[in-house]
Amino acid sequence: MMEILNTSFGLLQASAVREGDAVEERDSGYVPESKISVRDLNFYYGKSQALYNISLEIPDREVMALIGPSGCGKSTFVRTLNRMNDTIPGARVEGSVMIENSDIYRSGTDVVTLRRKVGMVFQKSNPFPKSIFENVAYGIRINRMASSKTDLHERVEKALTRAALWNEVKDRLKSSAFGLSGGQQQRLCIARALAVEPEVVLMDEPASALDPLATQKIEELIVELKKNYTIVIVTHNMQQAARVSDRTSFFLLGKLIETNPTTKMFTNPDEKLTEDYITGRFG
């Protein structure tokens, strides 16, 4: 644990001091500037503690994969990043989550703005009981982002195109979102999240309920999206983590065991526990 703490503090200083060298750092395969820095995060559901002293740097415009066995705290962790856990009675947080130099757990934080900036896609697709168009338009409407009707339509089209769904639904925008297939519904939810122009997209096992083809589409999409967004993806599927992510973090029993570039993580992990998990010796 101490080792990880030290590393992340080191990185923090590095990114503060060498802001100008960010590009150089990325080229050298080292850590670029952080979009999100989590420091000493503890999380409790009532009396039981779900996360222990998590410190993690999530770099801008990269894909960070979170792996680990069920119940290890991956989902809980990702939900602390946009304060989705606020809705759970008895939930309590200690420590800080910095997004671009502001602590989102500081009192006075506007949770509504935060969630606009840090979008989320859930494990089970959860379209609203509205038309396909209205599903995507909803976030744009509530955040008053569209200047006109034409603008609204353009934004919806852009979001659906980005989510690689436009061609499949452009002729039936007015029909119910529930008529789409599982994979399409999930891409609709991604489009919905993208429509409000977030900077970070959190994905909680976005492909776990999908067939291989739909999964492949979502994965291609993730790789495409990282050009513009910082992505944190929770996954049970280690091949998926290997395919889409730049960096991987391994969680076990509420603790962050290791974070490393994905290639290193899957070939030469620092921790014995990580190696055991990746090679299937437990979990």
Binding site: T87, F128, P129, K130, Y138, G139, I142, N143
Partner: protein
């Protein structure tokens, strides 16, 4: 029962799936099938009985009431026995009072139910839920006496307004509780989806949760309307009755139910006939409200 049907579904030459089994297993299988068919028939019989009672009542009302329904009966006001007369003013009064009660009771009840389901997890919410449950069980005549004491006595006379208030009070807990139940059925993931887009809580409730629960809420509202359309006791104290067409809410007002009560308790055969006819009209109106609301809230998405 199902097994027997499916045995015949195929013309295949192959033997039926019947794993080799001992005599005891075969006996157990027979017993299971026998028990299954007995229980299925029993539940089916209960269903038929329940529907049959309803159909007999409706059929009897239709047979007894239909012959007396004429256009005059539908638009005329009550007249002395022997001079005809009708229930036009009573239909109007029922519509006005039920309508006004719905106008007040439905929004209030739905809002209260939404509050209970979405924000009322503390002691306050639980208390309100409990009170609403208790209120649902209060006999309607007590509501009538309450409104009589609180409104009719200070106003100095019975009125359509007082009747509407009594009906609204009866509607409130029914609508609130059904709305609460229906909203609780909306999956949490849908709320999270909206919250994650930056929707404030009240917009999640208004834009996502209420529309998702719309069909259920409408059913609850319909039940409440149907329930108060059939109320007589609270109106006897509050709206009383009237022999004239009346749209002024500060005056006593006629209603179908009170008119039925008056006709049915009268001494003459003619009046009983009119009571049957008015009953048929009331049942038909309630049925129409049901169909109308069904149509309005037909699932669009």
């Amino acid at each position: 029962m199902r097994d027997a049907v499916q045995d015949k579904l195929t013309d295949n030459e192959a033997p039926a799936f019947q794993p080799e089994s001992s005599g005891r297993e075969i006996a157990a299988r027979r017993r299971r099938r026998w028990l299954s068919s007995i229980m299925t028939s029993l539940t089916a019989a209960c269903a038929v009985f329940a529907i049959a009672v309803l159909l007999i009542i409706l059929g009897y009302i239709a047979v007894r009431g239909f012959s007396s329904i004429t256009l005059d009966f539908l638009i005329d006001t009550p007249k002395p026995v022997g001079e005809g007369g009708g229930i036009g003013n009573a239909i109007l009064g029922s519509f006005l009072m039920t309508g006004l009660a719905s106008l007040v009771g439905l929004p209030l009840g739905i809002a209260a139910g939404a509050y209970l389901a979405e924000y009322g997890s503390g002691w306050f919410g639980r208390t309100v839920s409990f009170v609403a449950d208790t209120m649902t069980g209060i006999p309607s005549i007590i509501v009538g006496i309450f409104v009589f004491t609180m409104f009719v006595l200070p106003m100095g006379r019975q009125s359509g307004l007082a009747g509407s208030i009594a009906l609204a009070i009866i509607m409130l807990p029914i609508v609130a509780r059904t709305t609460e139940e229906m909203i609780r059925l909306v999956p949490h993931s849908m709320r999270e989806g909206a919250l994650a887009l930056g929707a404030p809580n009240w917009r999640v409730t208004w834009d996502i949760v209420l529309p998702a629960a719309r069909t259920g809420i409408a059913t609850g509202a319909m039940l409440a309307i149907a329930r108060v359309s059939g109320e007589t006791a609270p109106l006897l104290f509050t709206a009383l009755n009237s022999r004239f067409y009346n749209v002024y809410l500060d005056q006593p007002m006629a209603s179908l139910t009170v008119q039925i009560f008056n006709y049915a308790t009268g001494p003459f055969e003619v009046e009983w006939q009119m009571a049957w006819a008015a009953t048929l009209i009331l049942v038909t109106l309630i049925l129409m409200i049901n169909i109308f609301v069904r149509f309005l809230t037909k699932k669009r998405f």
